[in-house]
Symmetry: C2
Amino acid sequence: MSKDGKPKTKARGLDRAFAILDHLCQVGLPQRPIEIAEGMGAPKSSIYDLVALLLASNVLEKIDADGRVFLGPKLNFWSTNYRKHFDLGGIVRPILENVTARTRETSQFCTLDGDKYYVAMMNEGNRPFRISADVGERTPIPWTASGRLLISHLSDQEIIDLIPEEDFHLPDGSYLEPSSFIESVRKANADQFFDFDSIADNFTHCFAAPVYGLNNRCIYTLCIIAPQGDAEKNYDEYRSALVEAAEILSKKLTAQTSSMSEMAAE
Amino acid sequence: MSKDGKPKTKARGLDRAFAILDHLCQVGLPQRPIEIAEGMGAPKSSIYDLVALLLASNVLEKIDADGRVFLGPKLNFWSTNYRKHFDLGGIVRPILENVTARTRETSQFCTLDGDKYYVAMMNEGNRPFRISADVGERTPIPWTASGRLLISHLSDQEIIDLIPEEDFHLPDGSYLEPSSFIESVRKANADQFFDFDSIADNFTHCFAAPVYGLNNRCIYTLCIIAPQGDAEKNYDEYRSALVEAAEILSKKLTAQTSSMSEMAAE
DNA sequence: CAAATTGTTCCGGTATATCGGAATACATAT
DNA sequence: ATATGTATTCCGATATACCGGAACAATTTG
């Protein structure tokens, strides 16, 4: 590290490679190596190297003749194995369907990726409307109801450290005080539930219930996105549907995980 | 590189990291770093390093207090994005269900990972029985009907180079001559179809039809696993059901890919 | 067709990742 | 407790990956 402000340290290939994958997720479209390098602010030659390596292992895939690449089939292979063991998909899908059947609203299965929230699975309600966040799209934690639950195991300081300053600036331009955000986190944890009028639009209401994994940490949430009128009218009904579904899911998922580690321990 | 037979070259972190993921897929259970190192025949200290890095980026996940790790939630995030764009899942699932509805047999969606075949999606038939290969399990290409189609774009030499010698030894102990395997590959390609009595057991029959991607390469297959009696009785019916489904799927998937690359090109 | 611009490959110096082996921590048996 | 065995961390030498910049190729523009 040099004496002035520039750390000037070489980035590790692994981290850069993963950053490429994250970058492509964010862009959501195939890109050429140079676009990736510029988009990430990374050295060109390194990105060319890494893209070639990732193509060779099929972690990236060449999409067109112009050299654009995107997430590759190897990821599908790994995730097929991941999902086989935790069986997200098989377990979660019917539960979402059940929630939507009971409430007729759009239901989602959400979790964290680093310091962001994302929707891992979605089940459209009977009268679908444009949802703020699409499947797989990373969204600032404070913008979401689920976010309150997903970080409730952290201390105040850890929360402050985790969440980037800019994520407290809500999409409507207003600023959410970290302290009042943390208050809502504590309340969500106490209630094992959180709901509020969506801050991404002004006509929907979000309900979120925690799904617990090992050592009772909330690792996923189930949530419902409903028009505010419906939400008010059916509040108790929706809330209990969601909480019950989340409890069932917690049991099923922890059963999975513990049976797997027992098998590993022979 | 030393003078005797030992190349003695350091492995690149990326490749080893990916090898760790592949190894865990193969084992199918959480493992401790030392088990991974020994299972892969890799240097211990390197594996400890890499496992720590992969844990930090959530590509691996700590499963129990003994330090066992397994595929992590980051893979789920990436694959959520992968699947969102290619929408395997959304497109393939109903097609498999349709095939199974028409034939009442177990249907599968298969592809390659490196020099091995695997089942990426499965739909159990109305009277399920134990299938030879589970979802996500890597199987030698020559053991499968789909394998013939998935490599049919390769030259004879490329096929020989790709497939490890030992994969021509079938599970029943017999040896399949590469030349006669290649013959069956060429026939499969000409027929755009392949079927045979399963070589993993002696009571099922496998049908496979090609799903084509860009430049008309067979990148996936649809297949049916049926009891031999049923297979014979309903041969034409099953075959056409599968071929029709595969054609529909080819169209849908290529439409996806090309629309994506058009968007990227603005 | 030349010039300018943009995209890709090549190359070499140096920061650093890999890996053998030693040191240490942990677990189990004596 | 002590001994024995196993798992993990630490450490340092050196092979090599990363990256700046030059060379080269492709594409667009005048």
